[in-house]
């Protein structure tokens, strides 16, 4: 499918490379021309030679979105470093251009949760980190209370005695 990613930071660039490698058509949009270099980290050939597309512009510029191919996008990912920008451009992609799958990265769990309930699909890395930390700390608490083994998770088969 055709994927449009707005915001080529660590997350956007990594997602773009993976999706391209998995055989999808990938177009990236970022206001910083230098972010193109981030796309090519670890690649054997230039991004364009591998079939990728890169456009300079912001997700609020309709012309830039069009140039990046939003009108034929099957999926749209808003992964700029601004929560509000991501929420706004995700709604533009969905409401104005009718992109079937729209995902916004939102760091603030409260905003992510509310917009998710409003039908704007959000991914909240902060929420994921909170959940993982809670699990780890809970496990540590259990170990401290003597309920679980001292070091966990334990791989008994490869454990050297």
């Amino acid at each position: 499918m055709f994927i449009l990613i707005v915001g080529v930071g660590r997350v956007g660039a990594s997602l773009a490379r993976t999706m391209l490698r998995e055989g999808h058509e990938v177009s990236c949009l970022d206001e910083d021309p230098e972010s193109h270099a981030r796309l090519e980290i670890g690649l054997e050939k230039p991004w364009e030679d591998l079939g990728g597309q890169f456009t300079v512009g912001t997700g609020l510029e309709i012309e830039a979105l069009r140039a990046a191919g939003i009108e034929r996008a099957d999926a749209f990912v808003a992964s700029t470093d601004g929560d509000n920008t991501n929420i706004v451009i995700a709604q533009i992609a969905k409401r104005r251009f009718g992109v079937p799958t729209v995902i916004a990265r939102v760091l603030d769990p409260f905003r992510a949760e509310w917009y998710e309930a409003q039908g704007v699909h959000t991914i909240c890395p902060t929420r994921v980190a909170i959940d993982m930390l809670e699990q780890e700390v809970r496990a540590a608490a259990k170990r401290a209370a003597g309920i679980a083994p001292p070091e966990g998770p334990v791989d008994f088969e490869h454990d050297e005695v």
Binding site: G82, N84, I87, V88, Q91, R96, D108, F110, Q118
Partner: protein, 227 residues
């Protein structure tokens, strides 16, 4: 002013600060929210408890400011996405009835519309409107936009060689959805009838559907000059 309102203003820049000051003077209750620490400290010296420190696009900051009981939320930060989000959340999550948003980049105006954020105020648009009024292009000036009614009131100067010059209003066959409301001729204004004969130099006020602007200028603008 009639009732005392509770107004939350996001952004303590020049606009936000002055707005807060004016509203306080009129007897309203105001909370200003500013995310820049230095700016907050400066404004706090004057407004004291009427300003809070924080990012107004964070829900807890809005809740701490008492958004649930706000009569009006005004978003005038320098960031259009922030203004859009703050107003969208105020309206849809907290049911604030009146919102006003500042548009920094006039190109973003359509996004405010898309998200249902209205009315908006754009300094650039206002100044452009003033320039247009001073230096009318194609003799057409926007006087008033009635957004909800999808109507606008414009002023036109009837060009010398305009198709409508020297014609009876009744014979013009103007597009449906347009109405001439007044004519100013030799410093005297009157309401035209079907029998009024228009003259070059007449200043005409018309109410119309904005879509019909070009159709109308075909009658009143200089002959053969179309955009």
């Amino acid at each position: 002013m009639a009732d005392r309102m509770y107004v939350i203003i996001a952004g303590a820049g020049k606009v936000g600060w002055n707005l807060a000051r004016e509203l306080l003077e009129k007897g309203h209750e105001v909370t200003l929210i500013e995310e820049n620490r230095d700016r907050y400290a400066t404004v706090e010296q004057e407004l004291e408890h009427n300003i809070q420190y924080g990012d107004a696009s964070e829900l807890w900051v809005l809740e701490r400011a008492g958004i649930e009981r706000a009569d009006m939320v005004i978003a005038v930060t320098g960031d259009d996405e922030d203004n859009m989000l703050i107003c969208q959340v105020a309206k849809e999550k907290y049911g604030v009835e009146r919102i006003i948003a500042r548009v920094n980049n006039p190109r973003n105006r359509e996004h405010f519309d898309l998200l249902g954020v209205s009315p908006v105020v754009s300094a650039t648009d206002l100044i452009l409107r003033l320039i247009e009024h001073e230096v009318p292009e194609y003799g057409l000036v926007h006087l008033l936009d009635l957004a909800e009614e999808r109507l606008e009131i414009i002023e036109m100067l009837l060009a010398d060689d305009a198709p409508a010059a020297g014609k009876r209003v009744g014979d013009l066959d103007l597009p449906a959805g347009t109405l001439l409301i007044s004519v100013l001729r030799d410093r005297e204004g009157f309401v035209p009838t079907a029998d009024t004969v228009l003259q070059a130099g007449d200043e005409i006020l018309a109410v119309l559907d904005p879509k019909l602007e070009e159709d109308l200028t075909a009658y009143f603008g200089p002959a053969g000059e179309r955009r």
